[in-house]
């Protein structure tokens, strides 16, 4: 499955890191997050040009066919730079779901456009984004003479606002199936939800006899969904690990330069010891995210446990590191203009998406048979 060497991965990752450093400083993130769609369109096109939007798309569909290891690595950079946009929801989640379902015709039509950056997709699965949070009436699909129609609603759909198409999981008489809904479909209502993390877009979708096309699946839909969700969780863990590391770097740099009582605050044990503890969090999160990616890319039987381990450890670590970072900065980080709170907002959001740390701790024990 992995077609990438370690060197290839490093080179893609380094390219993305350079791009973010040059084209997506936090000032750009702030601009993007104030826009309606939450997308930095120029950056999105640059990512497409680098092939990165096709990271989860097979080469035959115009992607680069990266595996979980590469996706995790890229997401560390996304987290570090706090990049705003539908990378996780479209380039990872939607692409992986399409690839897992394996409808040749639809994949051939959509995936090349997604890799090229011209098509953004969102996935609407009850309970997926906010595991454990039932909300509204689960979508149901029925076949009419004129084709399939969907009824129901899904909340907490990530970056659905800017999506050109939606992949909607809906119950049918034969069980759960995934449907393709056009963004401008009749009977589709998208209500944006205001979010605490301004770099995140969430919507509630309502379907009222919305026309849809059923996506053919070469395996059980639940299995395809579970596979895609595992990849999304690994990607999110990478974002968390990368974000935590960047925040610690920023904080350590500040602690070296900020002088109080005639010496850098980082020379005081109160700050130094917090930083040491946070480094342990950051390294542990990194280890967990990368191990989950490694096992997932190998198709290992223990991948599920590793994914839950990473989701729980990285979720908690990112929140702890960003929360302590504000304290370590002191007053300056209590201002809107300082970036620390942007990371805390992202960390708090990430810790809710696709299952909380507590949820994944329980999942981990179960995966272990305990």
């Amino acid at each position: 499955m992995p077609t990438f060497s370690a060197e290839d991965r490093t080179s893609v990752r380094d390219g993305v890191a350079r791009l973010f450093a040059e084209r997506s400083p936090l000032s750009s993130v702030r601009s993007a997050m104030e826009t309606a769609t939450g997308i930095d369109a120029d950056l999105w096109q640059e990512l497409a040009a680098m092939g990165v939007l096709g990271v989860a798309v097979p080469e035959r569909f115009g992607g680069i066919g990266g595996d979980a290891v590469l996706i995790e690595a890229l997401m560390e950079e996304v987290g570090a730079a706090l990049v705003c946009g539908p990378f996780l929801s479209s380039a990872v989640f939607a692409a992986a779901l399409l690839e897992n379902l394996g409808d040749a015709e639809i994949s051939a039509k959509l995936l090349p456009q997604m890799a090229a950056g011209s098509l953004i997709a969102a996935v609407a699965v009850q309970d997926a984004a906010a595991a454990g949070t039932q909300s509204g009436v689960a979508p149901k699909a029925r076949q009419k003479a004129s084709g399939w129609r969907i009824e129901g609603e899904v909340a907490y759909v990530i970056h659905a606002d800017a999506a050109h198409i939606l992949l909607v999981a809906a119950e049918t008489s034969e069980g759960l199936r995934v449907f393709l809904v056009e963004g401008n479909a009749h009977g589709l209502a998208r209500s944006p939800l205001s979010t605490f993390d301004k770099t995140l877009r969430l919507s509630r979708l309502r379907f009222d006899a919305t026309p849809a096309r059923r996506i053919e699946a070469r395996r059980e839909t639940t299995e395809a969904l579970a596979n895609a969700l595992d990849l999304v969780r690994v990607a999110l863990a990478g974002e968390q690990a990368g974000g935590a590391r960047r925040v610690l770097d920023i904080t350590v740099d500040y602690a070296k330069s900020r002088i109080q009582f005639g010496r850098p605050i980082g020379s005081f044990q109160a700050i130094k010891h917090m930083a040491a503890d946070l480094l342990l969090e950051v390294e542990s999160a990194t280890s967990a995210a990368r191990e989950a990616a490694r096992l997932l890319s190998m198709g290992s039987a223990s991948a599920g446990a590793a994914v839950s381990l990473a989701a729980s450890a990285c979720g908690d670590a990112f929140v702890k590191v960003t929360a302590d970072a504000i304290q370590m900065h002191g007053g300056i980080a209590f201002t809107w203009d300082h970036d620390a709170h942007l990371y805390l907002r992202r960390a708090r959001a990430d810790a809710q998406l696709f299952g909380t740390p507590a949820f994944h701790r329980e999942q981990y024990l179960r995966a272990m048979g305990a």
Binding site: Q260, F261, I326
Partner: protein, 396 residues
Amino acid sequence: MTSQTPRGSQEALRDEVRAWLHANWPGRDREAPHGWLAKVVEGRWAVPRWPAVWMGRDLDDEHARIVESEFAAVGAPGAGQDRTNLWANTLLARGTDALKEKLVLPLLRGEVGMCLLYSEPGAGSDLASVRTRADRQGDHFRVNGQKVWTSFAATADYGMLIARTDWDAPKHKGIGFFFLPMKQPGVQVRPLRQITGESQFNEVFLTDAVCPQENLLGEATDGWGVLQTALAYERSAMGEAARGPRRGMGQSAPADDPLIALAREAGAMEDPVLRQEIAKVVILKRLNTLNATRAKADMRQGTSSSLMSLGKLAMSRILHEEARVRTLILGAESLLDGPDHPRADDTNFLTLNAYFTSIGGGTDQIQRNIIGERVLGLPKEPEIDRDVPFRAVRTS
């Protein structure tokens, strides 16, 4: 705890306050009428511990508390300012006669807007490293620099300012303390947006601002000492405030604790994991209330209480923990924000605003230093910049 003073004098005082309130206050928990504070000052109830010349009564603490409790009983404001009015107390203790004549009574009457000009971008935890300069020019000082975290700066008439007056003295010994007039061209106020999105504070830019000589409190290089006086009044006032009734966070009767109310509403009281988390926070709050009650009893007995200095640290933990547990209760709902999602909005606000307590007014780290050193008597760290001319000190 029986009184050491004649019971009779207390009863007589109580009767006098009651009679005055009966004659002047519109009734239990009514709004204060226009000019109320002036009337309280006039009646010599605002600062009964103060000398008569400043509209006081030279009362001891026990008698003064009677005045306060009678005012509190009917919900009338304005008494007890000899404990709570930071500005007037500081001015009375250290100000020039001219300034006292000019401002003490107006301050008691609430006619003067005030703000604090202490912190600077480079002087947060380490206030003694202020770089705002006050240079003497004839009968006034000329002030240049930048202050930050100033509430009410836009409306204030005066700011209590610390500024460097001697750059060759060690850091603590070259600072002056001023009542800086705020309504002048040299003072520019810019609101500071906080992480919560609010703007309660301001940055204040001082460019050749003018401060009359008579607005200097104490010696021009003893501002650090004056500041300690002011901070002591501030702590005392804050301690009082913390012990008063307070809605929502921090202190409450457990039965109607808003955290439990939220948990009930969200169905979280059925979850044994969350119950333990909720109980921990509710218990921390209750313990803080009990500590405050003990502190008050200690102070009434005239013994200084180590409990006072613990309150801020305790509150910081409570606020952060409450925010954390609220987030656990809400789950994915905490992703949301804004008026359409008030529970999430409250929780996220609390998450961020908890830093106001854990950073503002001395970080938790500084607070632990203070508790360790002043309460437990642990030795200070070596202060490498203490006896060095400020010019030679390393600053941010």
